[in-house]
């Protein structure tokens, strides 16, 4: 009897310990699916015999066996009330399948076409590809629903109709058109190509654990699928920029009534404007030697109708030495330096946007003392009254939620997004880690006594938009060493606090890049709020500057 009790206890313990593993496994499977079937866009650049060459390679995480639809972009679908562009009526001309991947390009074979494919045709990975779900477990309908949500760009056949046409054992049915076959068995999930070649497989995950994983509700218009470099459509990207951005701002910097963009790097600030989809560079301001920027925010402190740009920076000696950069007489210049505070613009309920600051401490303390408002008295920046924030937050890691409850969204040092009261009580946390920032300060406090300097990474930007959604980047990627941190995958997530849990509302399409900063602003002066992101691409070459870019997305 005693042995049975012990066995039961051990079994219960193992099950208890396995729960997080099963949940983690399900998340890993869904993560792998999302990665393997993530949208990617490009063009046919050449024909090579009976094959085609496309302008995508492994950098976009494409793999041999991937299927691309070849499309003719059609008319835009415009919402009659909001005028938002919801998508476009693309026409599918045919399908290609990757046969080989080279550096900078890949080979494809044509697997079907209605009309002749040619150089310059746009291609979209897995978009509009028919997908069948064959459930050999008899219990996979809930998982089918998850798959539909996870991979909305596939053209899914209904669950019932797919089961109706499902062969007794998984074999290629006769007379089928181009399709992907998702085959769920007790062994796991397989994905097979139209000619029934295995292209991906995933291990079995307990159904209960799988259904416990809550997937983000992806709103169709928030998932930007088309890449249109001319500035027309849902997505726009800038020409390549050099370096890793540390901050991004959008605002009217010169008082002309139009919005400009500012991207800060460690050593400089670049100002530009989007005009009819083209990128116009307006100026570059270098911070000077021995000074490294780590944060950027804009605020009209002078109340002159122009946003001044506040760059938080640190000298080689480890002193904060921020800058103000503004447009004067048609040029951008540093109008103030040696500001010994970390600086940030934040929106406070009841106050709107305010400029706040925090000092640096002694003996290796990155932040010290209360957060306070920054005031302009004459031409001097002075310390204003402190603001009430939860204990232990620092200048950069929180945002105030609207409402009278005085709640804050705060990125904890452990990487989770928390909802915190002003007294510091944590009411809820995100399921997954969020944030991730490559912007850092080199702490040299231990060097003088014979220790080493170390890189202290700043929290990622946390913002709350007008709808009360908490918006935060999610950067991920394998980087263990503190001096070699380089994120390789990113997305932007919007969460809401419903009083009990933090829920995903929408997220951007995951990208193979590091999301350095973001803004929600009318970046192209068309009256609509856009999502603007500054991203940097993975690059392990230490001798060349890292490549980065601005991306602009149209929001729902």
């Amino acid at each position: 009897m005693r042995g049975v009790t012990l066995q039961t206890a051990c079994f219960a313990l193992v099950i208890f310990l396995l729960i997080p593993v099963l949940n983690a496994s399900a998340a890993l499977v869904n993560g792998a699916l999302a990665r393997d079937f993530a949208p990617a866009s490009g063009y046919i650049v050449e024909t090579a015999g009976n094959q085609f060459i496309i302008d995508l390679d492994a950098k976009q995480q494409i793999a041999v066996g991937d299927i691309f639809s070849v499309v003719t972009p059609g008319a835009k679908i415009v919402h009659p009330v909001t005028k938002a562009v919801l998508g476009s009526l693309d026409t599918v001309k045919g399908f290609l399948q990757i046969t080989g991947i080279k550096s900078g390009y890949s080979y494809c074979r044509q697997i079907s076409s209605a009309t002749a494919l040619q150089k310059g045709d746009a291609i979209r990975r897995f978009q509009n590809v028919d997908a069948e779900f064959w459930d050999y477990t008899g219990q996979g309908e809930a998982y089918f629903t998850e798959l539909q949500s996870l991979l909305p760009h596939l053209q899914w056949q209904g669950y019932a109709s797919s089961q109706k046409g499902r062969p007794t054992t998984p074999t290629l049915p006769k007379g089928k058109s181009a399709a992907l076959y998702f085959i769920l068995t007790s062994q796991g999930l397989e994905v097979r190509s139209p000619d029934f070649e295995l292209i991906h497989s995933y291990p079995a995950v307990a159904q209960s654990a799988m259904s416990a994983v809550t997937l983000a509700a992806v709103e169709e218009s928030a998932v930007i699928k088309s890449v249109v470099p001319s500035g027309i459509g849902n997505y726009w990207t800038s020409p390549p920029l050099k370096g890793t951005p540390i901050g991004l701002e959008v605002g009217d910097f010169d008082g002309d009534g139009r919005q400009e963009l500012a991207v800060a790097f460690e050593d400089r600030l670049e100002i530009s404007r989007l005009v009819n989809g083209s990128y116009q560079q307006l100026g570059t301001v270098h911070f000077g030697n021995a000074l490294r920027g780590h944060h950027l925010d804009g605020f009209d402190l002078k109340k002159n109708g122009r946003m001044q740009l506040f760059v938080s920076a640190i000298t080689d000696s480890g002193n904060l030495s921020g800058l103000i950069i503004e447009s004067q007489d048609g040029t951008y210049r540093v109008t103030r330096n040696k500001i010994a505070w970390h600086l940030r613009r934040i929106t406070l309920p009841g106050d709107g946007a305010v400029l706040i600051a925090q000092k640096m401490g002694f003996q290796g303390r990155k932040f010290a003392g209360p957060l306070f408002r920054v005031k302009l008295v004459g031409t001097e920046l002075v310390e204003g009254e402190p603001i009430t924030v939860p204990p232990k937050v620092n200048l950069y890691d929180f945002a105030a939620l609207p409402g009278k409850q005085h709640l804050f969204a705060s990125l904890g040092e452990d990487g989770y997004l928390n909802i915190v009261t002003a007294e510091g009580q944590v009411l809820g946390s995100s399921v997954d880690k969020m944030g991730g920032n490559e912007s850092c300060i080199e702490m040299r406090g231990d060097v003088q006594i014979g220790g080493e300097s170390w890189l202290s990474y700043l929290p990622a930007r946390v913002e709350v938009n007008a709808a009360g959604e908490i918006i935060v980047p999610v950067n991920s990627g394998f980087s263990v060493l503190s001096r070699a941190k380089m994120y390789s995958r990113s997305e932007l997530k919007a969460m809401v606090w419903d009083g009990a849990t933090l829920r995903d509302v929408w997220h951007s399409t995951p990208e193979k890049s590091y999301l350095a900063d973001f803004r929600l602003a009318d970046a192209n002066n068309d009256g609509q709020t856009l999502l603007v992101t500054a991203v940097a691409y993975p690059d392990n070459n230490p001798f060349s500057p890292r490549r980065s870019a601005l991306h602009v997305y149209r929001l729902p």
Partner: protein, 379 residues
């Protein structure tokens, strides 16, 4: 049995996979440093005073090469570093460089561990394994167990392992001389040594100071004290209470892109305070007389670009004692260029001089001219 092993592996894997859910933040890091130097040394024969010269090339791993790890969970954090000893002590194997834990209690930090003394303030000199004017105008004296409280307002207090002038050793061998003949009795000493010197220690070495800033000047200073009693049973009447007291101050003036650095110190029996052989010979209590040592350095740095910094500095130290025929003086100087090849790789060409000038007996002492490069890779 096999089932048990499988079960253990499954449970182990389960726990391992569950670990990422914890809030523990672990960051490995490290630095590898190689020195390549041409040195020209001049020595003086102690008997005749005749000069002897020797020039050599050397390539070796610097003693400040190491791998380490930072861990953090909530208000608690820790650090551990393991590295190489300097070439002169390479046979000692792997060195524990630092090991400490911090508790951030809100108003300040409490640190337990093994780390350098709080009064250390180094220059950018890289010769002699990032010597930083060590023993020539800087106070680096190794790493010691200590309990340190540093407040957010800049004040700190450290209680450290008591120094016995660099000669105290663990007592781990059998003794025939009884308690009087023991060395320093430490936490793990269970036997007595067969030495003839008895060290008696009563209180920890204590360092109290302040680190602050005003505008673009960072400054700091403090006092340090140490006391022990030594008795040598082989020397008639050699019994002494040795009290060490020191005051120190330093400043860094950030005139971006120029940086100025100063360090000054002075006090009584600094050799006995500093616990290791890096201290100047003349700075020890000697001949039943206190020694008085004063020293410091000045350094100028300039950041020429985001990849290039140049530094130059000079240091001086003098030790006085009523028994000395002449003050024991030392000086050093250097100039280097720090070139960051990439974010992780730096090379530092440098010319350096270490000059021991004169000894307390009035004899000339050796000097070293060095030219070479430090090769550094951080990760």
């Amino acid at each position: 049995m096999k089932r048990s092993i499988i079960g253990a592996v499954v449970l182990g894997a389960t726990v391992a996979l569950a670990v990422p859910a914890m809030a523990l933040d672990v960051t490995p890091y490290g630095t590898i440093r190689i020195g390549t130097w041409y040195t020209s040394n001049t020595h003086y024969d102690p008997a005749t005073g005749a000069s002897q010269k020797d020039s050599d090339f050397s390539l070796d791993l610097q003693g400040d090469s190491f791998v380490g790890m930072r861990v953090k969970e909530g208000d608690f954090s820790g650090l551990a570093e393991l590295g190489a000893y300097n070439p002169k002590n390479r046979g000692a194997g792997v060195e524990l460089r630092m090991l400490f834990g911090d508790w951030n209690f809100g108003e300040g930090k409490l640190r337990f561990g093994y780390l350098p003394s709080a009064y250390v303030f180094r220059s950018e000199q890289v010769f002699d394994a990032d010597g930083g004017f060590n023993a020539y105008g800087s106070l680096f004296d190794g790493r010691y167990a200590q309990i340190k409280v540093s407040m957010n307002n800049g004040f700190y207090l450290a209680l450290m392992k008591t120094s016995t002038g660099g000669f105290g050793t663990n007592s781990t061998s059998n003794s025939t001389g009884g308690w009087k003949a023991g060395g320093v009795f430490n936490n793990t000493a269970t036997n007595y040594a067969t030495t003839s010197v008895d060290y008696d220690t009563f209180i920890p070495k204590t360092v109290a100071g302040y680190e602050g800033a005003s505008g673009f000047v960072k400054y700091g200073g403090g006092v340090a004290g140490n006391y022990y009693k030594v008795t040598d049973t082989t020397v008639t009447n050699l019994s002494a209470d040795i009290t060490s007291l020191m005051g120190y101050a330093h400043a860094t003036i950030d005139l971006n892109p120029v940086e100025l650095k100063f360090h000054l110190y002075g006090g009584q029996n600094l050799g006995d305070l500093m616990s290791n052989g890096a201290a100047t010979t003349g700075s020890y209590y000697s001949g039943k007389k206190n020694s008085y040592t004063y020293g410091g350095f000045g350094q100028v740095g300039y950041t020429a670009s985001d990849k290039v910094k140049v530094y130059t500095g000079v240091s001086y130290e003098t030790s006085k004692n009523d028994n000395y025929i002449k003050d024991d003086n030392k000086m050093a100087a250097f100039a280097n260029l720090q070139y960051s090849v990439t974010k992780n790789v730096k090379i530092v060409p440098e010319v350096s001089l270490l000059n021991d000038l004169d000894s307390s007996t009035g004899a000339k002492e050796s000097r070293i001219y060095a030219g070479g490069v430090k090769w550094e890779m951080k990760f």
